[in-house]
């Protein structure tokens, strides 16, 4: 099963996305890497690195990030873990996180997850 890491500047936001995703996919391997080591806002190289390690398997890991340093720090983690199967997904963190956790728990491979996030981004919440 693909592992999922949610990266956010906010620890509580990242944990909240994991909480929401687990409602849909209780057995998903999804973890939060939000905030700095002391819980204050920011993105932590170590937290992201350790989160990827925690859910890593041969099936790989998908990472969803909020903005700015979350993206850049994740890139640096991936460079530091060169040769491992880790993919950054581009899309909404909340909706994307839920969809990716669900798809991963159903056995969807890493290569197909970006497409699922794109669908989540395009889904309208209001009819008009």
């Amino acid at each position: 099963m693909v592992g999922v890491v949610i990266v956010s500047h906010s620890q509580t936001l990242a944990e909240g996305v994991v909480e929401l995703a687990k409602l849909m996919a209780s057995d998903a391997k999804i973890v939060a890497a939000g905030g700095l080591d002391d819980g204050t806002p920011g993105t932590s190289f170590e937290k992201i690195y350790n989160a990827v390690e925690e859910v890593y398997s041969d099936d790989g890991v998908a990472v969803l990030m909020d903005m700015g340093s979350a993206v850049m720090t994740t890139e640096m983690v991936i460079e530091a873990m060169e040769g491992r199967k880790i993919v950054m997904l581009d899309g909404p963190v909340v909706e994307g996180g839920v969809v990716v956790a669900l798809e991963a728990s159903l056995g969807t491979p890493l290569e197909e997850l970006q497409e699922k996030v794109d669908e989540a981004r395009d889904t309208k919440k209001l009819d008009n």
Binding site: T40, T43, G68, S69, T73, E75, M76
Partner: protein
């Protein structure tokens, strides 16, 4: 190099509140505090680096910034110092030509990491004109101090220029046109670093 980095850390710490204030006006208000935290962590490692080559010292500085800054400045300056360190590997002294090469690599790293260019109201608006001035001076045969003096002036002008333009990269881009009139904190911290380098060579 250790003394220069300590002086940069002191300058960043001194200007911490001002940098944060600048950042507060246009973005999330963490630049000064984050940079000070990062450079505090760098200073804590510097004494153990005594006797090491400039490349190793800069690489450790970069890695420490990545791990401790927490905002965009972490991966950006972190990559910059690591790239500069790679260029200066094995060197115990740095001449004008070395600085040109190191700065070119550092700027390349920032552009790669931030997918940014000049005119977007970022640290590049201070660093790129400074680099051009430095390179021109060194290539014309000026000594390091003269060339770097012009580079610092160009960086200062670059900081002024960021007041006139709209942010299109980073958190400040969320406020669009309303960022015009405000000075970019990243360009300001980049200027402080160059100014401190000049004062300590």
């Amino acid at each position: 190099m250790i003394d220069i980095l300590k002086a940069i850390a002191a300058k960043i710490d001194e200007e911490k509140d001002y940098l944060t204030e600048l950042d507060n006006e246009i973005a999330d208000g963490d630049h000064g505090v984050n940079m000070a935290k990062g450079f505090d962590a760098v200073v804590a490692k510097l004494d153990a680096m005594a006797g090491k080559d400039i490349g190793s010292i800069l690489k450790t500085t970069g890695m420490t910034l990545v791990s401790t800054v927490g905002g965009s400045a972490g991966p950006l300056y972190g990559t910059a110092f690591m790239k500069a360190g790679a260029k200066l590997a094995g060197k115990n002294e740095m001449d004008g030509k070395d600085l040109v090469e190191a700065m070119e690599a550092a700027i390349g790293g920032i552009q790669m990491r931030g997918k940014a260019t000049t005119g977007e109201k970022t640290m590049l608006d201070a660093l790129c004109p400074a680099f051009d001035a430095l390179k021109e001076g060194i290539e014309a045969g000026e000594d390091l101090k003269d060339a770097l003096t012009k580079a610092v002036k160009a960086a200062e002008d670059g900081v002024e220029y960021t007041k006139t333009i709209k942010a299109t990269k980073g958190r400040a881009s969320y406020i669009g046109d309303r960022s015009i009139g405000h000075q970019d904190p990243g360009a300001t911290s980049a200027f402080y670093m160059l100014e401190t380098l000049l004062a300590n060579i």
